[in-house]
């Protein structure tokens, strides 16, 4: 399936009223660059595009809908029309927001879905690609690509699930679960009172599981944001300190000392642990006790000289060693007595224990038993390291103080972020820890909640005589989970191969390879690449995954070059057009430098240039500079087609806007 974005039209919304055409007759340029200065509503357009494609606005709350209302809207409604081409057939979604009612309404036009339908109603074969998760992978902001390499975000795995529609397997499980719930509900009136209690409990637990899962995702995202901000602060602080050469030299000396002391600490710790792993070295009394055990076993003549086997064999003989015949009664007595003796094998163990005590405990030279001294050395090394680290902190503080107020503010911000990071980490740990006994439904531990819910479901099944159905439901869930895991593993392997082939071509000069895909993308032989390499890997992964199964989707990206330096802009600009059939970038003028020449080099003349800005008093001076052709006006927006105006639209003008 080939999906192209032909254009969109907005009116009465927070972005300027405007119709944007990217192509016609199902044909689109390889690259469309939509330059919109800050404040023109790039994010709004992107959100509306996603909402129109996925039907998600039907779940929006009235206050969310109200946020999309333009300031001078007098008709009480806003509209966003998105036009697609699906394998050459048109498909149009019309999203209307009624601000007074706080409602969203859709209209879908598609020849293959029966013409005009007053709802969000894409054709069946397209519908599976228009889920929120899936669309979020081809309509996104520029940072998604690098987030795919972040272990705490788990976005690569999510992307595979969405792109390869593995979530459908979850839905099968959910259908089975819903069927069981329905059956047990239908039986409710005829069964015991306890059922209502267990059902309520199951509902509470399910609700709590959903809440905790959402909180887990949010916390992981927050944690990542804080990590990035901390990195930025640390880099600024290092920059300030680097300016003071004397301080910098002292810092480097201290850091070397710290490294050496850490090595000493590790070494002494390793020695101590080796000592602790020998139980008799934990305390002299334990060594003595083992020595006494050996002596007393010797004294008690244990293990016995005669083993159990002797008596067992004797019981099988017709005569005893003393010559008396062994009858049934004697045999029973001998066998009963044999049970009191140690078997030959056990005797072997006891003898080996005595031998170990002799060689490892009693024959050890007391002068060589040095655990207390090793512990002392460990304590000394720990203190030394602590002192050095305190001095290092002092030097950093000195550097910050000499740098003035701003750096102090940075330090305070860093401390605050670290505290918040700690809180988030602890909250996540609590959600992801193992279940404990005796917990109730108020816990945030997902494993515990799952366990409690399984118990509740078991009870409901017992009460409603649906144990067999419950069992089958569990089997279906287990099968779908297993199928999902296995499919995901195979897809990961295939994707790694495909990604590496593409990366080999794209990053010929600066090679990097994907080692594996876990929750995130893992690079071969290095923890992380440069920012540019990470982005390249992220985009390559998305494009590779999107194109599996001979499907083509447009990549719609907000600020693809925003956070990058010039070199990286060139790299990404050259790479992106090679990845997909249609690339649509929402940019600001400051992103043009280096990005534009690179993308033009890669896409040739197959580029559409659009500049869109608000028509306000602040932009009145831009009117006189407009070209004679290719200009569209609306009551609050101006759209200009063409490269010439696109490249002229300057930073100064943008900041005025």
């Amino acid at each position: 399936m080939k999906i192209h974005l032909l254009g969109w039209e907005c009116s009465g919304l927070r972005c300027p009223d405007m119709k944007v055409d990217l192509g016609s007759d199902g044909k689109v340029p390889k690259v469309s660059l939509v330059q919109m200065p800050n404040g023109t509503g790039k994010t709004t357009v992107l959100t509306l595009l996603r909402a129109a494609l996925t039907g998600e606005a039907r779940q929006w709350k009235p206050e969310t809908i109200a946020e999309f209302c333009s300031r001078d809207n007098s008709i009480g409604t806003g509209k966003c029309i998105v036009r697609l081409s699906v394998d050459g057939e048109p498909l149009t979604f019309e999203l209307q927001l009624s601000f007074a009612e706080g409602e969203a309404h859709y209209r879908t036009t598609s020849p293959s879905a029966g013409g005009v339908v007053q709802d969000w109603h894409p054709p069946r074969d397209v519908r599976r690609f228009l889920t929120e998760k899936f669309v979020g992978l081809f309509v996104f902001d520029g940072e998604l690509a690098s987030r795919l390499l972040n272990p705490s975000m788990a976005r690569a795995e999510e992307a595979i699930d969405a792109l390869c529609q593995l979530d459908l397997l979850d839905e099968v499980g959910i259908i089975a679960e819903n069927a069981w719930t329905k059956v047990t509900k239908d039986m409710g009136a005829k069964t015991s009172q306890g059922l209502a209690m267990w059902r309520r409990r199951e509902e509470i637990l399910s609700r709590q599981i959903r809440t905790v899962r959402q909180a887990e995702k949010k916390a992981a995202e927050e944690l990542e944001k804080k990590r990035r901000e901390l990195e930025e602060i640390d880099s600024k602080v290092s920059g300030q300190i680097a300016a003071d050469k004397v301080l910098q030299a002292e810092l480097e000396r201290m850091k070397l000392a710290e490294k050496e002391q850490m090595g000493n600490l590790e070494s002494s710790l390793s020695t101590v642990i080796q000592g602790i792993r020998q139980p008799h070295r934990l305390h002299p009394m334990l060594a003595n006790a083992l020595g006494v055990l050996k002596k007393r076993l010797d004294k008690a003549k244990l293990p016995d000289v005669t083993s159990r086997q002797f008596f067992i064999e004797l019981a099988e003989e017709p005569k005893c060693v003393c010559g008396r015949p062994i009858g049934e009664k004697e045999r029973e007595s001998i066998l009963s007595e044999a049970g009191r003796y140690l078997g030959e094998d056990i005797s072997g163990v006891i003898n080996a224990l005595k031998q170990d005590i002799e060689t490892q405990v009693l024959q050890t030279d007391p002068e060589q038993s040095t655990l207390p001294a090793e512990l002392h050395r460990l304590a000394e090394n720990e203190q030394k390291l602590h002192r050095t680290q305190t001095e290092l902190q002092g030097l950093e503080a000195k550097g910050m103080e000499s740098a003035g107020e701003d750096i102090k503010a940075l330090k305070e911000r860093r401390e605050k972020l670290q505290a918040e990071q700690q809180q988030l980490t602890e909250a996540l740990e609590e959600m992801q820890r193992a279940a404990r006994s005796g917990e109730d439904e108020s816990t945030c531990c997902l494993a515990s909640l799952e366990r409690q819910r399984a118990e509740a479901r078991k009870k409901i099944a017992e009460i409603t005589n649906t144990v067999e159905l419950r069992r089958r439901t569990d089997v279906i869930r287990a099968i779908t989970k297993n199928a999902k895991d296995r499919a995901r593993d195979r897809l990961k392997k295939a994707l790694v191969g495909d990604c590496n082939r593409r990366l080999g071509k794209i990053l010929e000069a600066d090679p990097i390879r994907v080692a594996t895909i876990q929750s995130c993308i893992v690079l071969e032989g290095q923890k992380e690449g440069s920012a540019g390499q990470n982005l390249a890997v992220g985009y390559t992964f998305l494009a590779t995954a999107l194109h599996r199964g001979a499907h083509e989707f447009p990549l719609v990206v907000d600020s693809p070059a925003g956070p990058l330096d010039d070199k990286l802009r060139r790299e990404i600009g050259e790479m992106v057009p090679q990845l997909c059939d249609q690339f649509i970038a929402f940019t600001i003028s400051t992103e043009r430098k280096d990005f534009l020449p690179a993308i033009e080099k890669a896409a040739g003349k197959n580029i559409r240039y659009i500049t869109l800005f608000r028509n306000t008093k602040g932009t009145a001076h831009l009117i006189k500079g407009l070209p004679k052709q290719g200009v569209k006006n609306s009551k609050d927006g101006i759209l200009v087609e063409g490269r010439e105006y696109f490249v002229q639209f300057s930073l100064a003008e943008e900041s005025e806007v």
């Binding site: 600490l265 590790e266 710790l269 390793s270 101590v272 642990i273 080796q274 602790i276 792993r277 020998q278 139980p279 008799h280 070295r281 934990l282 305390h283 002299p284 009394m285 334990l286 060594a287 003595n288 006790a289 083992l290 006494v292 055990l293 007393r296 076993l297 004294k299 008690a300 003549k301 244990l302 016995d304 049970g339 003796y341 140690l342 078997g343 094998d345 056990i346 072997g348 163990v349 006891i350 224990l353 170990d356 005590i357 490892q360 405990v361 009693l362 007391p366 038993s369 655990l371 207390p372 512990l375 460990l378 304590a379 720990e382 820890r433 193992a434 279940a435 404990r436 006994s437 494993a447």
Partner: protein, 165 residues
């Protein structure tokens, strides 16, 4: 049957697990077990997960010494004497199985796990329910704590400090 720990043990030690030389679950188990044996306490755990059914490489050379201390702890707990051949034979027959890689019968595993469980509870209590974050700090505390427990235990203390470590 195997060596077994409650899931919360992993959780409690997670900050120091795989930190420095603490590399196996058995390390954690051993620390708990020795604390239990040092105090002579054993407590049955309501839930637990088997993790290994043999002494891992680092403990293989001292496997029988650990079992020796276990047997002694049991002799003390049951009020027996090593000289009581009959009772000791019964004890050994009940707990040890030479054919098992750990040399333990099901009852032996079970009782040893009870000592480890009690040891864990004690560590948590003595640490004020605050998870250890730095292995070097925890190990120093542990060595001191276990020395105090051994000295404070009437049975182990009866063996005096004749042999210097």
């Amino acid at each position: 049957m195997a060596f077994r720990m409650r899931p919360e043990v992993d959780d409690w030690f997670k900050n120091i697990f795989k930190q420095g030389p603490i590399q196996t679950k058995f390390d954690i188990y051993y620390l708990c077990l020795m604390m239990g044996l040092a105090t002579g306490q054993c407590e049955k755990a309501a839930s637990g997960q088997d993790f290994v059914d043999y002494f891992v490489a680092e403990y293989k050379p001292v496997q029988r010494l650990i079992l020796g201390l276990f047997i002694m702890a049991e002799i003390a707990r049951l009020g027996l004497e090593v000289s009581d051949r009959e009772d000791v034979r019964k004890l050994i027959n009940g707990y040890l199985d030479p054919t098992n890689p750990a040399h333990l019968k099901e009852d032996g595993f079970s009782k040893l796990n009870d000592y480890a469980n009690a040891g864990f509870n004690l560590i948590v209590k003595e640490q004020g329910n605050i998870r250890p974050h730095h292995v070097e700090v925890f190990i120093q505390w542990y060595a001191q704590a276990i020395a105090n427990k051994v000295k404070g235990n009437r049975y182990w203390a009866s063996f005096g400090e004749g042999v210097k470590d």
